[in-house]
């Protein structure tokens, strides 16, 4: 049974609870739900985490921005072509220090998702990110990025405006950016589109977030020419936070409440806030050259060969 099936069962039980007036039955249902949550939440497979990471109720970048940076000011546009709503950039104060925020923003409703292009950025989004990052470098502000995208947008216009070049330029520029960069993977991290915003000094990942070379569906369709084998693919792709920590790609995992971030968002925010704050204050003490050399080494050592 997948986590999705448990969730359906729990929802059915809760519905039943709202219909009944018997106190004893209500209590029994509560206990059953709790038991089920415990069981399902503690035995998550990779595929379950893919489901949770993409869940429509899962907090999106905007929810994090609202909670962590109440005075956020959004800045728009790449100054070449346009403004991409799939990537949100701006400034805010964080524990009395000014910071720059670059976030891949998915929507929560269909209408919002259409505006945000389902969190899939076009080249102008990446160029906006570079512009804002350079601005942060100039004014010596730490950068916090939020990664949540299924990938860069594979559209006709995106190709014509140089999606590949925009992503490459992100990787190129962020690698020696002279300021502290903290990356937080909050949901889905898919392919080059996610990688473009995950070049930093510290990569923090939420427990149920995923990060992979490609969506499990795309992976299955390329390797086995069969999209329906996505579940099997997800188990092999090493896309969970624990796998990535073992591989040395992720530095820190933030524990999520049972069932996913939406079940106790306040608590998660507290932990994330502390973690980001600690990372920034720790990294700000490091000399700039050392910081950049360490960032280089961090990516330099990834790869197996003999």
């Amino acid at each position: 049974m997948d986590y999705k099936d448990y969730e359906n069962l729990i929802n059915k039980l809760l519905e039943q609870k709202s219909k009944t007036n018997d106190e004893k039955e209500k209590e029994a249902i509560d206990n059953e739900v709790k038991r089920m949550m415990m069981f399902a939440g503690e035995n998550l497979t990779a595929w379950d985490r893919v489901y949770i990471a993409r869940h429509k109720d899962r907090p999106k970048a905007y929810d994090y921005i609202k909670k962590l940076f109440p005075d956020f000011i959004e800045l728009h546009g790449d100054r070449y072509f346009g403004d991409d709503n799939a990537i949100v950039t701006g400034l805010a104060t964080f524990h009395d220090m000014p910071v720059t925020i670059i976030a891949q923003a998915k929507g929560k409703t269909t209408e919002e998702n259409i505006i945000r292009n389902f969190g899939m950025a076009n080249p102008e989004g990446y160029r906006k990110a570079i512009r804002i990052a350079k601005q942060a470098e100039k004014f010596n502000r730490p950068i916090i990025t939020f990664v949540d995208t299924s990938g860069a947008y594979p559209g006709k216009g995106a190709e014509e405006r140089g999606q590949a070049e925009a992503i490459a330029e992100c990787l190129f520029e962020f690698s020696t950016l002279k300021t502290v960069v903290i990356c937080v993977v909050i949901g889905e991290g898919g392919s080059g589109g996610a990688l473009a915003l995950s070049i930093g000094d510290k990569i923090i990942m939420l427990e149920n977030a995923i990060y992979s070379i490609l969506s499990p569906e795309g992976f299955a369709s390329i390797l086995w020419k069969d999209e329906t084998r996505a579940k099997e693919a997800s188990e092999r792709m090493k896309l969970t936070s624990f796998d990535l920590k073992n591989l040395g790609i992720v530095d820190e995992i933030i524990k999520e409440p049972l069932g996913g971030a939406q079940y106790d968002f306040e608590d998660l925010i507290k932990r994330l806030d502390r973690s980001i704050y600690n990372s920034i204050s720790e990294l700000e003490k490091v000399r700039m050259n050392t910081l950049i050399n360490r960032r280089y080494e961090k990516y330099r050592k990834i790869g197996a060969y003999e």
Binding site: E159, A164, I167, Y211, I213, R300, G303, A304, Y305
Partner: protein, 287 residues
């Protein structure tokens, strides 16, 4: 008299009909001697293919060539030596079927991985030259390809040499998963250091260059050269067609298209490649 002719004609006709038609059997041509151009189907002898640098003499179609052939065409004879030729991939995550695929690729190409990296001279000018091979698992970039390219860039940085990378790749190698993806970051970071030293990086984009390779080092050249009609892009054509729900023109994502859109400096035919590269090296003050 008329009758006689008619009679005679009828006789000939019936004779022709009765005669078995000889089927036309084309003479078998040994495959090693001729190869048809995949574009115009013109039959060209191997000798000619080699002499013409694997460009069709009739329609100008540029055949995909191996990494070693690419290096032979760019570098001066007997000046090229490889760096880290022996580095091979290990199937660290035990991905099913990956070992066999690697083995087949290694045996069919004679290469240890999808890229050949080394140092050579181009009309006497010393440069680091890397060439990718699309015959090796579609030139996909895994940990070793990324490592070899990064090492070459670092070699060029430390010895203050220009670097030329001829790309040919379908993108990141799926079997190595996230490790492959991270090679994009690794190679780009190495190129940034090379660039910050004021050194020249030239990309030669050949057919096909897509996915993770185009979204990293292929698009970061100080000069980006492309061969005619090479496929260059980020997403695959089928994926785009599915996303936007329309059929794309055949020229979409080809060199000429990318030149028009402003992402390539120049398109150079294969026979002019070496001289153009030499000129560009000299113009950048490389001796």
């Amino acid at each position: 008299m008329q009758d006689l002719f008619n009679k005679r004609k009828a006789k000939i006709d019936s004779f022709n009909k009765s005669r078995k038609k000889k089927e036309f059997v084309p003479k078998e041509i040994p495959e090693y001697m001729f190869r048809n151009c995949p574009h115009c189907n013109f039959s060209i002898s191997y000798r000619e293919w080699i002499d013409e640098l694997y460009v069709c003499s009739r329609c100008g179609y540029h055949l995909r060539i191996s990494a070693n052939e690419r290096i032979r065409q760019i570098c001066d004879r007997d000046t090229y030596y490889e760096i880290d030729a022996k580095v091979t991939t290990v199937n660290e995550h035990d991905f099913e079927g990956y070992d066999e695929k690697l083995d087949i690729a290694q045996r069919s190409t004679g290469l240890s991985e999808a890229v050949v990296c080394g140092v050579g001279r181009i009309n006497g000018i010393k440069a680091v030259v890397c060439a990718m091979d699309s015959n090796f698992m579609m030139g996909s970039m895994g940990g070793v390809v990324g490592e070899k390219i990064t090492k070459s860039i670092e070699y060029a940085t430390s010895r203050r040499l220009p670097i030329i990378i001829a790309t040919a790749s379908g993108g990141a190698r799926m079997q190595e998963g996230i490790i492959s993806l991270m090679q994009m970051a690794k190679t780009s970071a190495a190129l940034k250091r090379h660039s910050d030293k004021g050194l020249l990086y030239m990309t030669l984009i050949t057919d096909p260059t897509t996915g993770g390779v185009s979204a990293s080092y292929a698009m970061l050249g100080d000069i980006i050269i492309a061969e005619p009609n090479a496929l260059i892009g980020f997403a695959g054509k089928r994926v785009i067609e599915k996303t936007v729900n329309e059929t794309l023109p055949p020229q979409f994502q080809r060199s000429e298209f990318m030149l028009e859109k402003g992402f390539i400096d120049l398109i150079v035919e294969r026979r002019d490649l070496k001289s153009t590269i030499t000129k560009l090296l000299i113009l950048h003050g490389v001796k």
